[in-house]
Symmetry: C2
Subunit: 269 residues, 2 copies
């Protein structure tokens, strides 16, 4: 059992809290049994830290299926003390499992030429980014593209908010704001810019087929140049006094309107 | 200019961080220019704390419209130092304005008998609660009902996430889990329980007319008894590998599907 945060394995894992270290090593931390199981299923895990089972514990530890899965995959599992787990975990109530994972994003050439592709342009909140990944997965989106100075999808909060969806669908990152429209069009996707004052509602616009929907920064929205270059601007119709929606809520509404249209048109089961 | 956090006005405001004090005094804190302006427009503000304009500032302070609005409403404005504002504010980057507001929730008798009424049952995350209030407002919901051991909608994070919508639509709180169905039915509302394994999809179910949709705890969902007593269970159709959605994302999708159906049926402009 590792009891010191200065243990080399633990110390190296802790360095992954810093984005620059993540980028250098192309590794990140995933936390909690659900996310770590998804990461193991995706073959993304390099090593797992598991909090030692308290002496005299009667209920089976949350880590049992993780130990099984890791053993089958040949992934090393390190037992750590409660104190070390508290350092590794970023949640107030650590769930006893943290994994070092390899990056799972795919290259620009993997942007699909069909389906719904939400595109995050300078999104800043990690919870929003992770929640959009989760909703995109649930709505059957074909991929998620992360553009420009957006939050790192490998940030711990983003990984946690994605609830495993980071490992479920293709994520393309590191695309420049200047090149994103060309990239999307080269794949044959129509490009829609979402905006509170978009020209047409999401119910008027065809959200089936190959379509990319751009979502902008929480405070500033989309850069003017990106918006102007899109094929159309779309809005969620607002019926009350709210001026706008939370970004992840808005993206979720758009994603599921696309899924609804696809089901109605026979394009989704 | 108030420069000490021990100033009696400041000290009393700071106590409102505690839920028990909020309940006793029926007061809470609202933060940031947008939310405080909405609170002033709603007549909910009792006093405002404004960070003093830095000497030599050239751009107009964010507080100018707030000072105007407060003066017109006869609401006292206290200038405070940057250090005091840092104590009053809960955000990492304080926006220079915090207001003490009176509770704005309405009694159970104010639950409307028509329209969409989202009902939060033991929702725990303040960000989720506030985001659902914001989406409910934007989707034209008639009211929001908060049930049982749910998070306090007057929690600072919930107020901030609501982005002013807390002041836009009727909020009913303090309803017991045992009494909520009777309350909703007494108003003539149909009662739908949302669940990942709901019997019918939100697109199959009629979400127009007077309808309450129950949303449960982030981890556990709805209590079994509440779910069993509902008129029907509804789900958002999942097309990918995600097992569920973030609660606020799910509620937003349901709320805007209701709005879409209402617009299509001529029940909303």
């Amino acid at each position: 059992v590792i009891t010191s945060p200065r243990n080399p394995r633990v110390a190296e894992a802790l360095q992954l809290r810093r984005r620059s270290v993540r980028e250098d090593r192309r590794e990140f931390l995933a936390e909690g049994p659900q996310v770590v199981l998804e990461a193991l299923a995706a073959g993304a895990v390099q090593e797992v830290f598991v909090e030692q089972t308290p002496a005299g514990a009667t209920s089976p530890p949350v880590s049992a299926p993780i130990r099984d899965s890791a053993r089958r995959a040949g992934v090393p599992v390190h037992d750590v003390s409660t104190a070390v787990m508290r350092r590794l975990a970023t949640t107030v109530t650590p769930q006893g499992v943290v994994a070092v994972c390899g990056f799972v994003d795919v290259p620009e050439t993997a942007v699909p030429s069909g389906g719904m592709v939400p595109v995050l342009v300078e999104v800043r909140d990690p919870g929003n980014a992770g929640t959009i990944l989760r909703s995109a997965d649930a709505a059957g989106a074909a991929a998620v593209v992360v553009v420009g100075a957006s939050v790192d999808v490998y940030n711990e909060k983003a990984v946690r908010a994605s609830a495993g969806s980071l490992f479920h669908l293709p994520v393309v990152r590191g695309v420049g704001v200047d090149e994103v429209l060309e990239l999307l069009r080269s794949r044959g996707l129509r490009v829609l810019a979402s905006a509170a004052d978009g020209a047409r509602t999401i119910h008027e616009v065809d959200l089936t087929g190959g379509v990319a929907v751009l979502f902008g920064n929480e405070a500033r929205g989309l850069p003017a140049g990106v918006r102007a270059a899109a094929d159309d601007t779309v809005r969620i119709p607002i019926h009350g006094l709210a001026e706008s929606l939370n970004l992840a809520a808005a993206a979720s509404v758009v994603l599921f309107e696309s899924a609804r249209q696809r089901v109605e048109g026979g394009g989704l089961p």
